[in-house]
């Protein structure tokens, strides 16, 4: 790997990664205090990362500060016309990026400090404005520009939000390209999407092994999860049908189904089953989590088209089945079986009892209002929470 691609100092990133892993181990009571103390000394890094909430504050403040800076600058230079403002915006964008990189990252060793993110987003937004201006372009231009800028931020600054955007822009680009070509390309769109994201998943697994850079773990987890979910969605019957009608102008008369409907019914059913099989076989929690999500989506898809007209019963029975399956698994995994356990091995860095408490209070029926009966709200709340909890890994 060419090390100058990444703006940060790689040995420092590696130390930072060891430190955060070790901190997690310490919090999970695997390491004792003495060991944790020694590790903190041995792997001391000069990277500056404030605590999470402060990063949020720094991000908000610097984003407001940096994105409004065009105002005073514009006032000073006066009226310079559309091209002039675009050029100015470009200069501002470049200077914000240079400031972030040279001053914050190189000199002050900021790493994900909130200010760096704000600098990157504001800088790239200015550049995007400069490139696109206010006139309209072909629809393919927007995702291409977005993809290039986001990919730049995702790789050079290891920015996770930019990574998600990169994948999104890639999907948009592919969609636009295929629908511009039309004909066979458009008809094969679901399969092209499936192969593209399948390839991305497979390729990212290979690249991950090859790089063996543990500080990129989060990047790979996000990349693989999103590619898998998109791989599934590309073959999902509901998505294919609705997108064909809404975006590609397919018209269906009553009792008519989309072409090759049985293929998509099959994919909707088989992809989740395949994913959970592979996940359990290869002990990949990532695959298992994606599989749980896609199973839920597939059930919703099938219910949508083959409803028995008893949604309440379905919800109750589904809830009961989930509880029973979970309890049976809890009991079954009392001892370690085939390498699986129900016990928490290490803390998950995303979980905290305080956050759980607030999420639970918002998604479960505590939020009752006067005048409305609580059952109604509990039901509504339950549905909302279901969507949120799916992404909660």
């Amino acid at each position: 790997m060419n090390k100058s691609i990444i703006a940060y100092n790689i040995p420092e990133l590696e130390k930072k990664n060891v430190l955060s892993e070790a901190q997690n181990l310490f919090k999970s009571n695997v390491l004792n205090e003495e060991q944790w103390g020694k590790i903190q000394v041995e792997f001391a890094t000069n990277l500056y990362t404030p605590s999470f909430t402060m990063r949020v504050l720094l991000f908000i403040v610097s984003l407001i500060g940096m994105s409004t800076i065009m105002g005073p600058v514009g006032l000073i230079v006066g009226d310079i016309g559309d091209t002039g403002y675009r050029f100015l915006s470009f200069l501002l964008g470049i200077s914000l990026l240079l400031f972030t990189e040279k001053k914050l990252i190189k000199d002050k060793s900021h790493y994900k400090s909130g200010v760096t993110e704000a600098g990157i987003y504001a800088g790239l937004s200015f550049i995007a404005f400069a490139l696109l201006g206010s006139q309209s372009h072909s629809l393919l231009v927007y995702p291409c520009v977005g993809f290039l800028l986001a990919a730049f931020a995702a790789i050079r600054y290891l920015n996770l939000t930019a990574l998600v955007l990169t994948i999104g822009f890639f999907g948009w680009m592919l969609f636009q390209l295929l629908s511009n070509i039309g004909g066979v390309a458009q008809a094969l769109m679901p399969f092209i999407f499936m192969s593209a994201f399948g390839l991305i998943y497979w390729g990212s697994k290979k690249v991950r092994v090859k790089l063996s850079a543990e500080f990129l773990n989060d990047q790979f987890i996000i990349l693989q999860t999103i590619s898998l979910v998109l791989f599934y969605l590309a073959g999902n019957y509901f998505v294919v049908r609705e997108l064909s009608i809404k975006m590609l102008g397919l018209t269906l008369s009553e009792r008519q189904d989309i072409p090759f409907a049985f293929v998509f019914y099959g994919l909707t059913a088989l992809v989740p089953i395949g994913t959970i099989y592979w996940g359990i076989k290869h002990k990949s929690t990532l695959l298992i989590r994606v599989a749980l999500l896609t199973i839920a989506l597939s059930i919703i898809t099938f219910k949508y088209y083959f409803s028995l007209g008893m949604p309440v019963l379905t919800v109750t029975v589904a809830g009961a089945i989930l509880i029973i399956v979970a309890l049976i698994s809890f009991n079954y995994l009392k001892q370690v079986r085939n390498g699986y356990t129900r016990e928490k091995l290490l803390n998950n860095k995303w979980s905290s009892p305080d956050i759980m408490a607030i999420v639970a209070s918002q998604t479960l029926g505590g939020n009752t209002n006067n005048g409305t009966t609580s059952e109604e709200l509990q039901f509504g709340g339950g549905k909302f929470g279901g969507a949120g909890a799916g992404g909660n890994w």
Partner: protein, 320 residues
């Protein structure tokens, strides 16, 4: 670079036993399904209680109602049996129960009790009579369960139910819709309730009574307080007084949160200070009949100045 485990092991920072455990996890000899199973259970409880509640809500005939009520009642009794069997005696400190799904049973039973309560109300035509008390009673049940069995999720539900009882809705869902300004004169209620919750949190800490509940109390309390203050600033006839109240109280809180490194509350109070200060600045410019163009300079310069100020003390908020 080696894997982290190997690196730590080679430098003698972890012992054999730890290395083997970590390697087993890394090479997937052992995989934990802790979060997956919990997620399933959580979703299951949500769907099941939601379904049961809604099922009860639909009219299903005379016998159906009784059967449904008995069903819910029976489920509550079974749940209570488990809770009694595994619960530890009350203690003012944090209590951990060995049963892995204890918290979920607790949640399920509490929600079922509320369902049954609502059901009885509708069935016996008590809605009108109890209209104003429903949420209070729900809050009381949640609160009792939260303290008796030491559960923060139930405490958070108790607080939201109580806020609902006095007419406030504290929910990110509303903020997402952009309707986080309070209508009518609810801001006084919001300010009072918010301040009380914050004080209760502080008292819990000093009296050593469920110390770890402090965060939940104060998080809701401060949000209610500041949202009340800011709504009042834009809504009431005494806008200047409210703006000064916000500025001063949020200023004090900023200082307190900074010293005690309560950075989440630091952010809340910072945002409130900034809004109040900007509001007053607007008023001042307006009063002086001045030029609003200063605000083109105001936003970038105040933000950048504040950033520079924060970074003079950057070691104070470095990552622990």
């Amino acid at each position: 670079m080696n894997s982290t485990n190997k690196e730590l092991y080679q430098r003698n920072l972890i012992d054999d036993r730890q290395y083997q455990l970590l390697e087993a996890i890394r090479t997937k000899k052992i995989v934990s399904l802790y979060y997956e199973l919990r997620l399933m259970l959580y979703l299951g409880i949500m769907l099941f209680t939601g379904g049961v509640g809604y099922f009860a809500y639909q009219n299903i005939g005379y016998m159906g109602h009784l059967i449904a009520m008995f069903g819910i009642g029976a489920a509550i009794i079974v749940g209570c049996y488990f809770i009694r069997k595994f619960a530890k005696p009350y203690s003012p400190t944090e209590v951990t129960v060995s049963l892995v799904y204890f918290d979920y049973i607790l949640l399920l039973v509490s929600l079922l009790i509320i369902s049954l309560f609502a059901y009885v109300q509708v069935y016996f035509d008590l809605v009108e009579l109890l209209l104003n008390w429903t949420s209070f009673i729900s809050a009381a049940i949640f609160l009792f369960m939260a303290y008796r069995y030491d559960n923060r999720a139930l405490l958070a539900m108790a607080i939201t139910a109580f806020a609902a009882a006095v007419g406030l809705s504290i929910s990110p869902v509303n903020w997402a819709k952009g309707t986080w300004q309070l209508s009518s004169n609810l801001y006084t209620t919001s300010i009072m309730l918010g301040a009380s919750l914050t004080v209760i949190g502080q008292v819990s800490q000093y009296k050593n009574l469920k110390k770890h509940f402090r965060f939940t109390y104060q998080n809701f309390g401060l949000l209610l307080y500041f949202i009340g203050c800011i709504s009042a600033m834009f809504d009431s006839d005494y806008e200047l007084s409210y703006a000064f109240l916000t500025l001063v109280s949020a200023g004090i809180l900023t200082w307190y949160a900074w010293v005690h490194k309560e950075f989440l509350f630091f952010i809340y109070s910072n945002i409130a200070v900034y809004i109040a200060f900007t509001f007053l600045a607007f008023k001042a410019v307006n009063q002086l009949g001045g030029d609003y163009v200063v605000f083109i300079y105001y936003f970038p310069f105040t933000c950048i100045a504040y950033l520079l100020l924060l970074f003079t003390r950057k070691s104070h908020f470095a990552h622990e």
